[in-house]
């Protein structure tokens, strides 16, 4: 029992480490300095809607308003594309991805591709320089 729990805790930290990747769509990560640039990484996923959702969307097309089912579908698809990108960056030994851009395209009827790309880099925390405690020592 304890063994299983230990395993679960280990698993938890494993998936938790995914969020340790620093992400930014700026040219740098705020609060950090880029020390090494590695490569461009990207992730993509192609998704299609299913019939039930499409039927509901057809009804919504008459009355108007937000399509919550589609909003959720696209959100989780983008998350998957991003997870793939993060996994690639991790394999290259990066700890941050900067300059992230998203793009979406309709490649076929009812199917869309969600694409995300960025630059994998190694960053260090921007530690403010402490004042010299002995200014007149030299």
């Amino acid at each position: 029992m304890l063994f299983i729990m230990e395993f679960l805790i280990f698993k938890g930290t494993e998936s938790g480490s995914l969020s340790l990747m620093l992400l930014s769509n700026l040219e740098s990560v705020p609060g950090h300095v880029i020390s090494r640039q590695i490569d461009v990484v990207y992730g993509s996923t192609v998704r299609s809607k299913h019939v039930g959702r499409d039927l509901l969307a057809g009804l919504k097309n008459i009355v108007g308003g937000e399509l919550t089912a589609y909003t959720e579908l696209l959100e989780e698809s983008r998350q998957e594309a991003m997870n793939r990108m993060i996994e690639k960056a991790r394999q290259m030994g990066a700890n941050a991805i900067v300059g992230i851009r998203f793009s979406t395209s309709n490649i076929a009827q009812g199917a869309s591709e969600l694409f995300v790309y960025g630059t994998a880099v190694v960053v260090e925390p921007n530690v403010p320089k402490l004042p010299d405690p002995f200014p007149s020592a030299g």
Binding site: N25, L26, I62
Partner: protein, 145 residues
């Protein structure tokens, strides 16, 4: 002839349902947006790429899909023949964009950020005949301690 009358009745029904519900939803949405925008006005937005900050930041994103109603669809088809501004569709895109920005600000509020840097908006058209528009917004939220 009967068939023609039936088709006309269906069309008139959809047209009026679209008009009624579409107007109701649009007014409700615009009212909600105005309230939310006032409430979240303290979160500062910018679109600069090269700005940076000494505080911690993280990527946040939000999206929204908004559909047209049958009334707008018919009006847009008529306007399409004449050309010019499609006022009925302009309001859909505008509502979607405002909603996406409001949601992005709400995401920032959730993690305790007060500023969003490098905002990007992208718009995609979904669906076969169009009319469904997706707006995706993303940016870097800055957490000031």
């Amino acid at each position: 002839m009967d068939n023609l009358i039936f088709q006309f009745v269906v069309f008139a029904l959809l047209f009026s349902v679209g008009f009624g519900f579409g107007r109701y939803y649009e007014r409700k949405h615009l009212k909600e947006l105005a309230e939310q925008e006032v409430r979240l006005a303290h979160i500062v937005l910018d679109t600069h790429r090269f700005t940076t900050s000494e505080f911690e930041g993280q990527l946040i994103s939000s999206n929204v899909v908004i559909s047209h109603d049958y009334f707008k669809y018919v009006i847009a088809n008529i306007q399409n023949i004449l050309g010019g501004r499609l006022v009925s569709y302009e309001s859909i895109v505008e509502r979607a964009r405002r909603e996406a920005v409001v949601r992005l600000k709400r995401e920032a509020e959730k993690i305790g950020a007060t500023q969003i840097m490098g905002l990007r908006l992208s718009t995609t058209e979904l669906g076969m005949q169009g009319g469904m528009v997706e707006v995706f917004a993303y940016g870097t939220a800055i957490k000031k301690p």
